[in-house]
Subunit: 211 residues, 3 copies
């Protein structure tokens, strides 16, 4: 990869990571509606939701320093996301479908970014796919665990499995030497597509055990 | 330790670790009976249960890469365990006593393996005992925490304390220069014995506070 | 800092850390009153409460070995704290106000110690403040999560935000070159003051969302 491509690519991916972090913090800080948290509680949960997935990935991979520890911009994106959520809450309610789209795009980007980071640290593709999925869902899992909610993994719609499918798709196309940017678009698009269709048509995976 | 002994020993211990991981994944994926998880949710919990204890130990000890990140066979053992649990569930129910034996043997092996790994990283014996116990029980603790169940630590029968007793026994016999394989058998046997007796005779430790 | 100052300072700070660990273990082991834990369950929770905050900080900062892994005295302080809690429980109840003071002092010391440790590892002040707050509150958060209680963050009184205020105060005064021991006293005093006043006058932060 030559320097010019790098200059062209980095800002886009970096912008997506900042935007995803902003959005995760916003949705996390609003997750506790009926617990009526104060500002500090809401900010804490927004923060954990935003950094949880990436931190889980990097800790499991032993990759230090964590991204948000070394890049202060992510902290400010989180703070902005929390303040934004406070003021924009009525907007969130009115634009529920737009918000679902943003949320799904955030999950899709985080999956592919996480898969790429794991690959770049030299792990096998199977591990990279798991790490990509963790990057996307662990923030929500930790959020639900800390707040005693039903974990996002056991709700109806297809969620973690869409991320896993996207990560596997990315790895296959990467193995077939597809150019990276196209791969990013196709694989994250697959995640967005699976998730939106499953929400629209109430699709879900088969139960693990039939009664 | 000469090379021949190593060749003889490694496969057995390695086989036990693979078998224990397989079994932890199977029992973990069945842990959520009344939450009716889909395949993805069940697999996620099976995965976390299988890797949770060893990962907690290695992260607390700062020992990277984690075992399952560097050894792909463990991932396949987990996948097999989850598929096995799906098909063998009726068997699980019918052979409940056999399953309790397997579960207890898994916990016993994980305790000793975890204690040995911590020792090999140069920590003090007290820490090694705690890490051995963590290796055995943290998978279940994380599983129960993620799924909002009553944590395994607060159920009736003796559990974590049996692991701790086995780890301390291992360390004492090791200090007395007992040969390693005999020590492994005696110490893990102690864990199995304490646990099975406590289940059979409903033994439990004294309450922390009398009412 | 010359050697004599170091000799003078270390024991005090080290004593505070040991004392704080002792007290966190004691209060943690008593946290599960209506779950009637046995000795092992109570000790496990006491242990997690005592080491949780510092471990979370050090893992997030990638600073290994963890303090309690390399310093066995902390393990014995924890064990003593658990035994003390068992025998001194009636005392705890009778001296509730004294205990609140001890608890608050423990949180205040842990905040400043955590902030200093993070700074010494070279992170930015914003991250150091977050890490200081984490050091103080994460033990309680993990305790409440493992035991399915309402997380300490969502209870009424000001708690995490008092720690954050103290950490920010420390960083500001440090930036203004205030001598370290005075800074330690002022900043931890601020935390104690905010927390005690908020308990006495039932002060709380504004809700994140008005109904």
């Amino acid at each position: 990869m030559n320097q010019e491509v790098l200059l062209f690519e980095m800002p886009i991916q970096y912008f997506l990571e900042i935007a995803g972090t902003f959005f995760f913090a916003a949705s996390g800080s609003l997750a506790l509606q009926h617990k009526e948290p104060d500002w500090c509680g809401a900010a804490f949960i927004g923060f954990i939701t935003a950094i949880g997935g990436g931190s889980a990935r990097d800790i499991l991979l032993g990759s230090f320093p964590l991204v948000w520890v070394s890049d202060i911009l992510l902290i400010y994106a989180i703070l902005l996301g929390i303040v934004f959520a406070h003021f924009a809450f009525p907007l969130f309610v009115r634009l529920r479908k737009t918000m679902l789209l943003f949320d799904t795009m955030g999950i899709a980007f985080f999956t592919i970014i996480g898969t790429e980071k794991a690959l770049s640290l030299g792990v096998r593709p199977e591990i990279a796919a798991i790490m990509g999925m963790f990057t996307a869902v662990m923030g929500g899992v930790i959020r639900d665990t800390l707040t005693n909610e039903v974990p996002v993994l056991f709700r109806k719609e297809i969620y973690a499995s869409a991320c896993l499918a996207g990560a596997v798709c990315y790895l296959l196309l990467d193995f077939m030497d597809l150019e990276r940017n196209s791969n990013f678009l196709i694989s994250s698009g697959l995640i967005v597509g699976i998730r939106l269709l499953s929400v629209k048509y109430h699709l879900s995976l088969p139960k693990f055990r039939n009664q």
